[in-house]
């Protein structure tokens, strides 16, 4: 019988004879497995990098923050901690002074005025400042106040490594280097929001002494962070700290939180699983598309060897020997594809690592090679072509030898399908593309499905980009619908609306119209099912800006609320229903949290549920009637938002100033990681679609060699044959595109509703495909498949017509 070595040599010759097709199929496997391996392994990277960065930064376990606007003598908080029964569980503790401010970081003609924070620490044992290598650094000591500037902010504005910024009261602060600090590893701004961009909030890290000096709070602190020893009972210590702080500072309220409550920490870890779900779905789509394409292409190659198998059977060769050759071809293609897939995967890894490092700068990034991800992908990559050879091989070896050997018309049946499709096309050969598509419906649908899978992934990815773009546009159009140049001033503390300082701000020469209101942190719903938000208490009518109403009406009385985004749906509340709102309530000089039952009177088109709107009458519920902490200022004629911000910056009672126009950058930055990964993936999918198109066309030319040779023998010009192939490709591509656009739209919807809604619950993503995305899908699915035959012109031109016409290959 056939020696094994002969079968191996024969199969290698098969590969070499079809090397462009084999290379293309291997490339398809490579893209599918490489993208899958890379995308499905990012969660491990992020978790490891987060863990290492927080460990390196000695992130706090417990945080004590006094209410805004209050402070206490240095040492008081330390004493309180020292007095708790389980003080031995505390490993390290630091007092701090945290000062809200406005930062003018303008340089080189660039105007940068943002809200910010000055964090003065008494040491580096908890919440260390780290340089970009993850090494602890401290601000250099000098006669003038010096600080380190938060890395994300510095990178966002491409600031020089060292320089001078100015803070509220126009005070200069020299910074000597950019630095990381665990509380600010992820930009959350001053609203604990997922929508702060790194460039919209500046944090300066300095010594406690410099912070006290600069803020005029000599000897005072308002913040404390501590780390526990390994194995300590954190919940117990939290309770004891709460009791100790309440006892030692009865007149001042303080909030005691853990690291899990830190917005940056929460977002960094929470995002991982949610993002990974989305990447996994996309990676499975890519792998699925590749698998379909490989199955179609490899099975067609094996089908074309059916006659040789038949000849072998006629000669009495056992079926298992005959099956070995095509199976070996499938295995060799698989191994080649998987080997290339490692390269593609590493390239994707490098691209994704670069995206993550840029979008989520951390002091320590770990991007180890994910062997298990690759192994999983490799198993699929090997299985795909092997499975693709098994079925047609079994078909071939089970056929009667005489049927397998048969050539000519009897080997491929024609049928009447399609004739009715093509009246009036004129020349007979012009009908052949349509007849070919319909004649072998199974093959057409397999090819169309493979193209469709690639188009579906592309459309899903582009659709996600469209959805985020549309959501950002909706948010911005909502914010900018009236008085788009307005500036919002956050005050250092609550103040009477009629106070002199408020009047001063509102009567600044650069200010035209103005209004005051409250912005307070709230919690909507129950502790289990609700969510944190920002409550805006302003006059709903006649002011500079009010939210639009999607359903219901604006609040016009106390304890009425207009919910944003998907809040009402998420809380399962209809208009007229009631919801619990937990809000601050002034008590003496401090505040406590109170829960009030409020009526939902409407929902707004603003796509963020983290904003809820109340009329000014609700201020009384918070015991803040006639009090403001936010001012909305419209620039006077001839003044710009920047002029207003600069004027406000000079005042020491202004904590932050922000122009409405700065929100675009905030949204873009918030979605940057997501959209960049999608763009990288779409590039890979585009390559996949083009490869599928080319390979399908190439195999079609091989399958119809004799038909084409006969046409040439009758003098049909080559361009007519190429045109026929292009028309057939366009029809198949159109079918695939329809499948792809429908499938891609469905996939996009599913990803948004099942995955993105959990990753970014605060955003109500607006789904929809742009015309551009549909056009790209059509261009790839139809044009690529239709144009692919052009790449076979050389092969047609060099065809040995007499050789192709002969019966024996």
């Amino acid at each position: 019988m056939l020696p094994r070595l002969l079968i191996v040599r024969w199969s290698i010759r098969d590969l070499r004879r079809r090397w462009p097709q084999v290379a293309a199929i291997a490339a398809i496997i490579a893209i599918g497995t490489g993208v899958f391996a890379s995308l499905s392994g990012t969660a491990v990277w992020r978790r490891q990098s987060n863990d290492a960065s927080y460990a390196r930064g000695a992130f706090h376990d417990i945080h004590v923050a006094l209410s805004p606007g209050t402070n206490t003598a240095q040492g008081t908080l330390l004493q309180a901690i020292g007095s708790i029964p389980h003080a031995a569980m505390v490993d390290a503790v630091q007092e701090r002074l945290v000062v809200a401010t406005v930062v003018d970081a303008s340089f080189g003609g660039k105007s940068i005025l943002v809200p910010g924070r000055l964090v003065g620490s008494s040491g580096q044992t908890v919440d260390r400042t780290l340089d970009r290598r993850g090494v602890a650094i401290e601000p250099s000591s000098a006669a003038e106040p010096t600080a380190l500037i938060e890395t994300g902010f510095a990178r966002a504005w491409s600031m020089p490594a060292a320089g001078t910024v100015r803070i509220s009261g126009d005070q200069p602060v020299t910074y000597s280097a950019p630095a990381f600090q665990p509380e600010y590893f992820y930009p959350t701004g001053d609203q604990s929001s997922a929508f702060a961009s790194p460039g919209s909030f500046a944090v300066l890290f300095t010594s406690l002494a410099d912070a006290q000096r600069v803020s005029g709070q000599s000897g005072m602190v308002n913040d404390l962070v501590l780390r526990l020893r390994p194995g300590a009972d954190r919940a117990l210590v939290v309770k004891e700290v709460q009791t100790a702080v309440a006892t030692s500072m009865a007149a001042i309220s303080a909030e005691v939180t853990t690291r899990d409550d830190n917005p940056a920490y929460r977002l960094l870890y929470k995002d991982i699983d949610g993002d990974q779900r989305t990447w996994t779905v996309i990676s499975f789509l890519v792998l699925g598309g590749a698998a379909l394409a490989v199955f179609n292409l490899v099975s067609r190659i094996v089908e074309s060897e059916r006659r040789e198998i038949g000849v072998g059977m006629a000669l009495g060769t056992p079926r298992r020997y005959l099956a070995a050759r095509p199976l070996l071809v499938g295995l060799q293609v698989a191994l080649l594809g998987v080997a290339l897939g490692v390269g593609v995967g590493r390239a994707m890894d490098a691209a994704l690592a670069s995206v993550f490092k840029s979008a989520l700068p951390l002091p320590v990034w770990r991007t180890p090679f994910q062997a298990w991800s690759f192994a999983r992908a490799a198993m699929v990559g090997v299985a795909m072509p092997v499975m693709a050879t098994i079925w047609p091989t079994l078909r071939a070896v089970r056929m009667e030898p005489v049927t397998a050997i048969r050539t000519g018309p009897r080997s491929v049946g024609g049928n009447g399908r399609g004739r009715w499709l093509i009246p009036g096309l004129g020349r007979t050969y012009r009908t052949l593309p349509f007849r070919n598509v319909v004649r072998n419906a199974r093959r057409t649908m397999l090819t169309a499905t493979a193209v469709g899978a690639a188009v579906a992934v592309l459309v899903a990815v582009l659709g996600l980009l469209d959805a985020f773009g549309a959501t950002v546009d909706r948010a911005l159009s909502e914010l900018e619908k009236t008085h788009p140049d307005r500036v919002e001033i956050q005050l250092e503390s609550f103040q009477p609306a009629t106070s002199a300082s408020i009047s001063d701000v509102r009567s600044m020469p650069t200010v035209g119209a103005s209004e005051g209101g409250l912005r307070v942190p709230i919690h909507i719903g129950s502790a289990e099912s609700g969510f944190d938000a920002v409550g805006e208490v302003f006059a709903m009518r006649g002011g500079l800006w009010a939210p639009s109403v999607a359903s219901g009406r604006l609040p016009q009385a106390a304890n009425e609320v207009l919910l944003g985004g998907s809040a009402a749906r998420d809380l399962n509340i209809s208009i007229g229903g009631h919801v619990e709102v937990t809000h601050p309530q002034r008590v003496g000089l401090g505040y406590r949290l109170a829960t009030t039952d409020m009526t939902v009177v409407g929902t707004t088109g603003f796509p963020l549920r983290t904003f809820a709107f109340f009329d000014t009458d609700t201020a009384a519920t918070m015991n803040l009637a006639g009090i403001v902490n936010v001012l909305r200022l419209d620039p006077a004629t001839g003044s710009s938002p920047d002029d207003v911000i600069r004027a406000a910056f000079a005042r020491s009672d202004v904590a932050s100033a922000r122009a409405t126009s700065s929100w675009r950058a905030t949204f873009d930055d918030a979605l940057d990681t997501f959209t960049t990964v999608l763009r990288v993936t779409s590039a890979a999918v585009l390559c996949l679609a083009l490869l599928i198109a080319f390979n399908s066309s190439s195999i079609s030319v091989d399958e119809r060699t004799r038909e084409h040779a006969t046409m040439f023998a009758f003098g049909l010009p080559r361009r007519s044959v190429v045109t026929m192939l292009m028309v057939e490709g366009a029809i198949t591509g159109l079918l695939g595109t329809v499948i792809g656009i429908v499938g891609g739209y469905w996939a996009m919807q599913w990803i948004i509703h099942s995955s993105v809604s959990q990753t970014m619950p605060d955003i109500t993503v607006i789904t929809g495909l742009s015309v551009t995305s549909v056009f790209i899908g059509i261009a790839v699915g139809v044009a690529a498949v239709a144009i692919a035959p052009i790449f076979t012109v050389r092969r047609l031109r060099s065809m040995d017509i007499p050789d192709a016409l002969r019966t024996v290959e």
Binding site: S411, G413, Y429
Partner: protein
């Protein structure tokens, strides 16, 4: 654009439809040169039935391919329909195949996705003839298949498929028919019928060239050109003159 079509020239412009002068054809196979045809000189006249006879490897198929302008000679001059094939551009060679010569293949080479009528219509279409559908119907009736118009090749017997292939060649209206072993895959009875159809074309003024290794078939020819090892070893009427198709036996 030719002032006179290749077909017209072959049909009316002179005695010779095909003229070969000192034609040779060689192939390089690795480091060796294989001479398939060596110094062939011959004419095929209008209305002549010529059989190219020879054993396997004698060069008869190569000669057919050259005359059918599927290949070009390595040496010598080959004129088909008055055009020197060796110096003709590729466009001109395609044009010759559309308007001067038509092939009938041993394995039929019908298009499996087209019916019998459509396969024949294809021939008329490519040649640029008017009313190709009507031509297809008429020609299929002439070859004895009026009831097989809408059958696909796999639904036809071998003989019927070869008739369709002949019909396709006839539908072009080209004056030169080239048949490569036209009875090779057919039984004797069917083969005789096919030969009858081809002989009838000679009677209608076409030049018919049949390539075969079957000496019995050569008896129907006006002239037999015998090849051996790429050279003409005989060129003349068959012994005893041409006989009627019905009298051949193999």
């Amino acid at each position: 654009m030719m002032r006179q079509s290749a077909g017209e020239r072959a049909a009316t412009g002179g005695e010779s439809a095909v003229r070969l002068v000192n034609v040779s054809k060689s192939y390089r196979v690795g480091t060796h040169t294989v001479t398939a045809l060596d110094d062939i000189t011959m004419d095929i006249r209008r209305g002549e039935l010529v059989v190219i006879l020879g054993p396997s490897g004698s060069g008869k198929t190569t000669l057919l391919n050259l005359i059918g302008v599927l290949d070009v000679p390595t040496e010598g001059s080959l004129e088909v329909a008055g055009i020197d094939v060796a110096t003709a551009s590729e466009r001109e060679r395609f044009r010759i195949r559309r308007h001067a010569v038509s092939f009938i293949f041993q394995s039929f080479n019908l298009f499996p996705g087209l019916t019998a009528a459509e396969n024949v219509e294809f021939g008329a279409d490519v040649a640029g003839r008017d009313a190709p559908r009507q031509i297809a119907t008429d020609v299929l009736a002439r070859v004895g298949l009026p009831d097989r118009l809408h059958h696909f090749p796999h639904q036809l017997s071998g003989g019927e498929q070869q008739r369709v292939a002949i019909a396709r060649a006839l539908a072009t209206g080209n004056p030169i028919l080239l048949a490569d072993e036209p009875t090779g895959e057919l039984d004797f009875t069917t083969g005789v019928q096919i030969l009858g159809l081809l002989a009838a074309q000679r009677d209608e003024g076409r030049s018919v060239l049949i390539v075969t290794h079957n000496r019995e078939i050569a008896r129907i020819a006006d002239r037999v050109v015998e090849l051996s090892s790429g050279r003409i070893v005989a060129d003349g009427p068959p012994p005893g003159g041409p006989v009627a198709v019905q009298t051949v036996r193999w």
